[in-house]
């Protein structure tokens, strides 16, 4: 069964990522985490995303395109990245989610992937 783990990170953490000492440590933790999922053969795909200030949001309203500077919603947490895993069940997905650096300082949302849509 496929699950997407959606990593929500607090906005306050962006400063930490840019910190010359903390930043590399955090990146290392993510590299180790992704590496362990690849090694276990559970990872289908995944990406880390640039911070929310780089986001552009597009909506079609009355046939007109509206382009907005910024993410689709302002929140205290932002979407930092995601991975899609192929594992037995929710328990296995939870076990992977709890190991992610985001679980320590943000949160991880787990969503089953709609399989008929993706084949």
């Amino acid at each position: 069964m496929q699950f997407m783990l959606i990593f929500a990170e607090p906005l306050s953490d962006i400063a930490r990522q840019k910190d010359p000492k903390e930043g590399p440590k955090l990146m290392g933790a993510w590299r180790d985490y992704i590496g362990s999922m690849m090694q276990a053969g559970v990872m289908v795909n995944g990406d880390g995303l640039q911070p929310p200030e780089t986001a552009t949001t597009v909506r079609m309203r009355n046939g007109r395109r509206e382009v907005q500077d910024g993410p689709y919603c302002d929140a205290k947490e932002y979407l930092g990245g995601y991975v899609t895993l192929d594992v037995d069940d929710l328990d296995a997905a939870i076990t992977w989610a709890e190991k992610s650096p985001a679980a320590e300082y943000g949160s991880v949302e787990i969503r089953p992937v709609m399989m008929n849509a993706t084949g």
Binding site: M1, F3, D89, L90, D91, A93, I94
Partner: protein, 407 residues
């Protein structure tokens, strides 16, 4: 066997077979709602027929055959053939070749799925009662003081999650088992507590405590090496043993310390003691074993005497350190008050976070009791607060008689 006894036996057999079949189908399809639909009519017919005809030799085969016949015309139409109807068909064929006892009992897997941490805690107990025992949303709603339709919605939502969220139907690994088992046992205990609180609620309340005892026994039989299911069953039996003594002949509230000991049900006390001593052989701390041990201390106390305060204080200290629920912290305060004096108890009550205590009746009742003992001037205000949170009329009368009288 009396008419009523035969009726109860038939109903128990129907519920047991229903739960077994539902869990076998659900373990294959993950779809509780569809399995319920497939079995509902057959189960209703069993509840109607068996009290008159007697329980058939193979109750499960009876149910499956009936379910298949009811769904017959649907099954033939491929478009409407649900996963559960398909599973009924497969089970029907398999049962021709195998005895029911060859099928694994999947009810434990279903209980673990119902009490999964990804299921809303408020839905776990109702979900168990519905899936394993076949109780209706109406009946469950009545027991939990929630309108039937609202309980129905809560159950529908939980079943959708069981089907779609990827929640496994299996017994957890050894590393997860203690935590997950505590969730299952807590949900069973919640059913017991709800039934226990409906002391004047007649059949609905007594029925729910019986269902909880049934589920408790089921988990214990399926996990014979685990001490906590024994602890929970022991705890529930100790309480159940006191049921006939909780009210006087006029319906007045009788506190534990004053209950006539000869009204207690010895048979249940003996079973509870045996279970607790069996559980303790594992040598592992458990919340339910500790709570059962606390009840055991109370049950060994003569009427009119105070229960052994140092034993209670030690047990509550253990519980407060390992599982600091608000109930455990209140019990601890009361135990230390009888061991030392009321002011020590009041200090311990002060340490309980107010958001946990504010609307919890036992907290205010404990506070009132200790304030009165310590001759604290706040007692009259505490009586008002306690009464405003006391819903049981007999308990209100008792509190008024005890504390409102001029001292």
């Amino acid at each position: 066997m009396s008419g009523e006894g035969a009726h109860q036996a038939a109903e128990a057999a129907a519920r047991q077979s229903y739960g077994r079949l539902l869990s076998i189908i659900t373990a294959r399809t993950r779809d509780v709602a569809a399995a319920e639909n497939a079995l509902a009519e057959a189960f209703a017919r069993a509840l109607e027929a068996w009290p008159n005809t007697g329980v058939p030799d193979s109750p499960e085969a009876w149910l499956i055959t009936t379910a298949r016949r009811v769904a017959g015309h649907d099954v033939r139409r491929a478009a409407t053939r649900s996963g559960a109807a398909g599973a009924v068909e497969i089970l029907y064929e398999e049962m021709e070749a195998r005895e029911m006892s060859d099928f694994p009992d999947d009810r434990l897997k279903l209980l673990f799925a119902c009490a999964h941490p990804a299921i809303d805690p408020a839905a776990r107990t109702p979900l168990m009662l519905q899936t394993v025992l076949g109780l209706t949303a109406e009946a469950i709603g009545r027991a939990f003081l929630i309108p039937g339709p609202s309980m129905g919605q809560r159950l529908v939502r939980a079943k959708t999650r069981l089907r779609d969220a990827g929640i496994p139907f299996r017994t957890p690994d050894a590393s997860d088992l203690p935590d997950r088992l505590e969730d299952v046992l807590s949900a069973i205990y919640a059913a017991f507590g709800t039934g226990w609180d409906m002391v004047d609620g007649g059949e609905a309340g007594a029925g729910l405590t019986q269902e909880a005892l049934y589920l408790g026994r089921l988990v214990m039989e399926m996990l014979p090496d685990e001490p906590e299911p024994k602890g929970l069953l022991s705890l529930m039996l100790y309480c159940e043993a006191r049921r006939p003594a909780r009210r006087s002949v006029t319906g007045a509230y009788v506190p534990l310390s004053e209950q006539p000991r000869d009204l207690w049900l010895d048979e249940l006390v003996i079973e509870a003691e045996a279970l607790l001593s069996e559980a303790s052989k594992a040598g592992r701390f458990g919340r339910f074993q500790t709570e059962a041990a606390i009840q055991s201390v109370h049950m060994q106390t003569k009427a009119g005497e105070a229960s052994n305060p140092s034993a209670l204080a030690a047990l509550y200290d253990l519980l407060a350190a390992r599982r600091p629920s608000v109930g455990a912290l209140i019990g601890r305060a009361l135990a230390h008050a009888s061991l030392n004096d009321a002011t020590v108890g009041l200090q311990l009550l002060d340490e309980i976070p107010s958001e946990l205590a504010a609307s919890y009746q036992p907290y205010w009742a404990a506070r009132l009791h200790l304030a009165k003992k310590a001759a604290d001037p706040s007692a009259p205000d505490l009586l008002q607060t306690t009464l405003s949170l006391t819903t049981d009329p007999a308990a209100r009368d008792y509190l008024l008689a005890l504390y409102a009288a001029p001292s």
